[in-house]
């Protein structure tokens, strides 16, 4: 793109510099003729294109039932995704397996369109025996990766739908003393497939000292078990102090202790979203009450793109490498192809076409030799 601009400008100057009085940036070109190329407008162009295309984001929520997942999702995106939900009672849940349910909603704000997909996992951790209850979830994530892998390797790549899960909010129960065995096993099974953001749910049942202790405990256990949760990227050294301070606070508050609510209550003469108790009102958007605002800012306002990037660059690449390695080892076992990396998972050509290819190769080589001979003869003459 930039080379075309350079060429255009050069052509302009060569043809008739004096008649170019009405240029878009007359002053600028005169002053910085030699330095100003113009590719600084690139981000604007990208921005315009993306706004037209719209963004998509897939968020997964996981955790025991009754931890306020649906309420939090509704609070984050100010929608009501779960209007027609039917809650099962305990007896019906005894033989339930974990399901995967997707809700898609299109949100638009100031001309920017977002296609938001929420992947819900009802039934997780509810049964009496929860062995491998995370398997349907890992299978789903792998399926999305596989789908994307196939689409990427296919012939028509114009309209690939990206259904890969960009972020998984994992809800930790505030009633425990830290991570439970189910939590640890789930996170270990998923930390290399998806960005895990652990949250402490229903934080309004804890007093500030309890929240501090619980966060410390959870951070310790995450380190102890080697769980790789999503790490906020380091901010560049040339960012201003305020941004750095915010970033530091963000990192120190992980895991976020959140409260969700979509009901509006009256507090101190203001109408706020919150929960009304006989002993006071909990305000969802009050930073002193919970970390909801931090979570929302992180998820939507500052780190959404980074989450997508890490999914594409790290998790998807890991999957892809694994996949290809598996295919290669399978193929070398069958002794069919010697080269290490097949580009497509196509079926290997049968012997007929192989013969044809070999013949054509031979022909090509002979023709090349003849050409070389002729060139030499011409040079000698």
């Amino acid at each position: 793109m930039d080379s075309i601009i350079i060429q255009e400008r050069l052509v302009e100057r060569l043809l008739s510099p004096r008649t170019q009085a009405q240029r878009s940036h007359p002053g600028k070109l005169k002053d910085h003729e030699k330095q100003y190329v113009g590719f600084a407008t690139l981000p604007n162009q990208v921005h315009r294109k993306s706004v037209k295309k719209g963004f998509d984001f897939t968020l997964m929520v996981a955790g025991e039932s009754g931890l306020g997942k649906s309420t939090l999702v509704n609070s984050l995106f100010l929608t009501d995704l779960y209007k027609d939900r039917k809650l099962l009672n305990a007896e019906e849940r005894i033989n339930q397996t974990v399901e995967i349910i997707k809700h898609t909603v299109d949100i638009e704000e100031k001309g920017v369109k977002l296609k938001l997909t929420i992947v819900d996992t009802p039934g997780f951790g509810d049964a009496v025996n929860n062995t491998e209850c995370w398997k349907p979830i890992t299978d789903y994530i792998d399926q999305q990766f596989e789908q994307y892998f196939r689409d990427e390797s296919g012939l028509n790549r114009k309209n690939i739908q990206d259904n890969r899960v960009h972020c998984c909010l994992y809800f930790i129960s505030p009633f425990g003393h830290g991570l439970r065995p189910v939590d640890v096993e789930f996170m270990k099974a998923l930390h290399e497939k998806v960005n895990i953001v652990p949250l402490i749910a229903k934080a309004d049942c804890l007093i500030p000292s309890e929240i501090r202790k619980l966060k410390e405990r959870i951070r310790e256990e995450i380190d102890k078990f080697g769980i790789k949760v999503y790490q906020f990227p380091e901010c560049d050294s040339d960012e201003d102090e305020e941004f750095k301070q915010q970033d530091r606070e963000l990192k120190e508050s992980a895991p976020f202790a959140v409260i969700g609510s979509n009901t509006v209550v009256e507090a101190k003469g203001q109408r706020v979203r919150g929960r009304l108790y006989p002993w006071g009102i909990v305000e969802v958007e009050n930073q002193a009450h919970c970390d909801f605002v931090k979570l929302r800012n992180m998820l939507i306002r500052t780190h959404m793109h980074d989450l997508k990037d890490v999914t594409c660059d790290v998790h998807y690449e890991n999957y892809r490498a694994q996949c290809i390695q598996q295919m290669t080892s399978k193929l070398t076992q069958d002794n069919r192809i010697e080269s290490p990396i097949p580009i497509l998972p196509l079926p290997t050509p049968d012997t007929e076409t192989e013969k044809l290819i070999k013949m054509k190769d031979e022909e090509l080589r002979r023709m090349q030799e003849m050409l070389q001979k002729m060139q030499q003869q011409m040079q000698d003459q």
Partner: protein
Amino acid sequence: MPPLDQPLSVLKGVPTTITAMSELVPEPRQKPVVPMKPMGINTSLLGYIGIDTIIEQMRKKTMKTGFDFNIMVVGQSGLGKSTLVNTLFKSQVSRKSSGWNREEKIPKTVEIKAIGHVIEEGGVKMKLTVIDTPGFGDQINNENCWEPIEKYINEQYEKFLKEEVNIARKKRIPDTRVHCCLYFISPTGHSLRPLDLEFMKHLSKVVNIIPVIAKADTMTLEEKTEFKQRVRKELEVNGIEFYPQKEFDEDLEDKTENDKIRQESMPFAVVGSDKEYQVNGKRVLGRKTPWGIIEVENLNHCEFALLRDFVIRTHLQDLKEVTHNIHYETYRAKRLNDNGGLPPTPATPDSATGLSLQHVAPPRWE
């Protein structure tokens, strides 16, 4: 309900029939469903005899001997069981305060840990044993995690049975049977969890279960009422009889009182705390949050006061009686039937059930 500022009373009401005395002295006999009619002809008294002083005599006796109460707490870790027990008995009686390290790992199987304390109030001594069940419901696979608990309860019945059947019986058989089991329901706001149902189904037949909604400060008033309704309905649909069981209501007075408790208050939504704060010039037990102080004993905030009155001030003796007259008798009848109507010999472990007493650790006394 009797006024709240009276000292702990072992008697529920003033008995007016002659059968009152046998009711109070524990005897292995089926509790009658209808109140027994007096043995003799009801004659009118010509003067004051002094029969009613029997109450005072009983009271003096009980104060001297004291009595025991064994309460078991069951629930997932972190639901506030230890704190609630401490708050109930206004002293550090739980496992957490008795030297066991709170930070220790979740045990791989359900353990039973019993701790005994002697607490005294108004001249009345109570040997309180708190039986804790760490590890319940915390694993990934919680199938049959109630079995160790059921086994423990049956072992206590077995112990009592063996003592009873002895030729040379002790004057007062030490009572280690579980009188009351507080089951802690997690306040999800939706309904009971499958594990809760399974536990209560299996154990409501062997012990008095009182379901309690833990950490109730996480629900608003509407959520609390809805949740309680749903839980009550689910318990009813599944045929779970929690204490006070409908079939053991003796007379109309009991029935109306218990009906009210069963249909409106239970399960009690409680909050526990052992820290005090200043509210309106008074020192109260509570939890201090950035948005207000939750008072544990304030009925507008939670139902802890109701639970305390229920378990300690009104139904304590009844809990013991139902355990002795119903649950223990059921166990005893089953054992005797299994054994062909013969009592098991106390010296050797019984081969029919395979139960032996060696592996039960006696409660730690502090």
